[in-house]
């Protein structure tokens, strides 16, 4: 088992990038979910989305913290003072929240991905990551239960809810390949037992989500990337700027502030 002191120098940069991508995914999705606070279709769902947002942002803090142990970075600096090109989140999480069907389908796809990823990371040879994955994985079960139920409600609800779910699928499904794509150094991290094999993870996530989506009666096409989408994380459609403007404006108004 390795930790931040014994991690080999060659693996530091790939692991830092991987942890940053995971943290950025959670941070941005958490903020998109938080936009529903006060606007969700039901009071219960308003509370649920606020909980999901709080969890995702808390998980982001965990992953930024693991990065910090390796490179000494300050999570607050990373969140509030990086610009969009330096964020490594996937496109899926930064798209506007859209309607309820898109919000829930995106959440389901992300939850299914996280559950598969965390189950594998729980066996990571990088001990701090394995420990955090066990903790976060338990909490993600609550998310997956919730978003899975919404898939069923939307698919079997009304003609309109089904149509909205189909439209959400047309947007979200082609974004899955980027979320699952390997990053630089993936082979080395896998060889060291730190991160799962990206192709095996991708197959597991696709099989799981395809089975769930077909299970509620959707026709799921082949997984081909959205046009204009690169596998490379770090490019962003216009939407991330909007998230960051909202998220960073207060911190940037007084960069010297030590306490809020």
């Amino acid at each position: 088992m390795a930790d931040a002191r014994t991690l080999s120098a060659a693996l530091q940069a790939p692991l830092v990038a991987r942890l940053t991508a995971m943290a950025d995914d959670e941070l941005v999705l958490g903020h998109r979910n938080a936009e529903w606070t006060g606007h969700a279709p039901l009071l219960e769902e308003d509370i649920a989305l606020a909980n999901l947002a709080q969890d995702e942002i808390g998980h982001a803090i965990t992953w930024y913290g693991l990065r910090s142990a390796i490179d000494g970075s300050d999570p607050d600096q990373l969140v509030y003072f990086r610009d969009a090109p330096d964020f490594l989140n996937a496109w899926l999480v930064e798209l506007p929240r859209g309607d309820w069907a898109f919000t829930m389908l995106r959440q389901y796809l992300f939850d299914a991905y996280e559950c598969e990823l965390l189950a594998r990371l729980a066996r990571s040879t990088y001990e701090p990551l394995a420990q955090a994955a066990v903790k976060v994985g338990r909490e993600e079960l609550f998310h997956l239960r919730h978003s899975s139920l919404w898939l069923e409600r939307l698919a079997h609800g009304t003609t309109e809810s089904k149509e909205r779910l189909l439209r959400a699928m047309a947007t979200a499904w082609p974004l899955l390949p980027q979320l699952l794509a390997p990053m630089t150094g993936a082979a080395e991290l896998h060889a060291a037992g730190i991160w799962p094999d990206p192709s095996e993870l991708r197959d597991a996530v696709v099989a799981r989500t395809r089975s769930a989506l077909e299970g509620v009666g959707l026709t799921v096409g082949p997984l081909s990337p959205a046009s204009g989408l690169t596998d490379h994380r770090g490019t962003h459609p216009a939407h991330l700027d909007e998230v960051l403007a909202n998220l960073q404006s207060v911190a940037r108004a007084d960069p010297e502030a030590v306490q809020w």
Binding site: I47, N51, D55, G58, Q131, V134, K135, E139, H146
Partner: protein
């Protein structure tokens, strides 16, 4: 030296240290930690919640190890400050470490804590031994009338660790501590 929790959580081994119940000077440290309550559940202290994991004393001072119920729990920062202050009042240098490992479980609460929770109006999570999915769907008794016929109104509640349920017998709506 590491001390186990006096009157420690059921099912949790004492990590080294003194025999349970044996009076030691470290009892004062545990007593100090018992004055710190969970700000989201002010009837429970952090020792009976299983949030305070260990107290280690050496030449450099006292190290208190805490673990959050949920990793995104916003109360943990306040608990860290208050635990440090409680130990500092005894005249010790103190360091507080927060760990996610092993993950906190609702099984880490003492049975006395569960009873206090029930009297506070929150249905506790009964011990599940790790079978969380089964516990999530198991019957839950109403903390007001003790009737078992209750149902989930919302899988999420006022804090990360609770869900909202209603009782078909007395009609009351109540919160349940999630099995985790």
């Amino acid at each position: 030296m590491v001390t186990g929790t006096p009157g420690r959580r059921e099912g949790m081994p004492v990590v080294g240290g003194v025999a349970p119940g044996a009076p030691t000077e470290d009892d004062a440290l545990w007593r100090a930690l018992r004055t710190v309550v969970d700000p989201e559940i002010p009837v429970l202290d952090i020792v009976e919640m299983g949030i305070a994991r260990s107290v280690v004393r050496d030449d450099a001072g006292v190290t208190v190890t805490l673990t959050p119920t949920f990793s995104a729990c916003p109360a943990i920062a306040v608990i860290e400050e208050e635990a440090a202050a409680a130990v500092r009042r005894l005249g010790h240098e103190v360091r507080v470490v927060t760990t996610l490992h092993p993950p906190w479980s609702s099984d880490d609460m003492t049975s006395a804590a569960r009873e206090k929770l029930r009297r506070f109006g929150i249905a506790p999570s009964e011990p599940h031994g790790g079978l969380i999915q089964i516990a999530l769907d198991a019957p839950v008794r109403c903390p007001h009338c003790d009737h078992p016929d209750t149902y989930v109104r919302n899988a999420f509640g006022s804090t990360l660790c609770r869900e909202i349920r209603s009782c078909r017998s007395c009609g009351e709506t109540f919160e349940r501590f999630k099995p985790i």
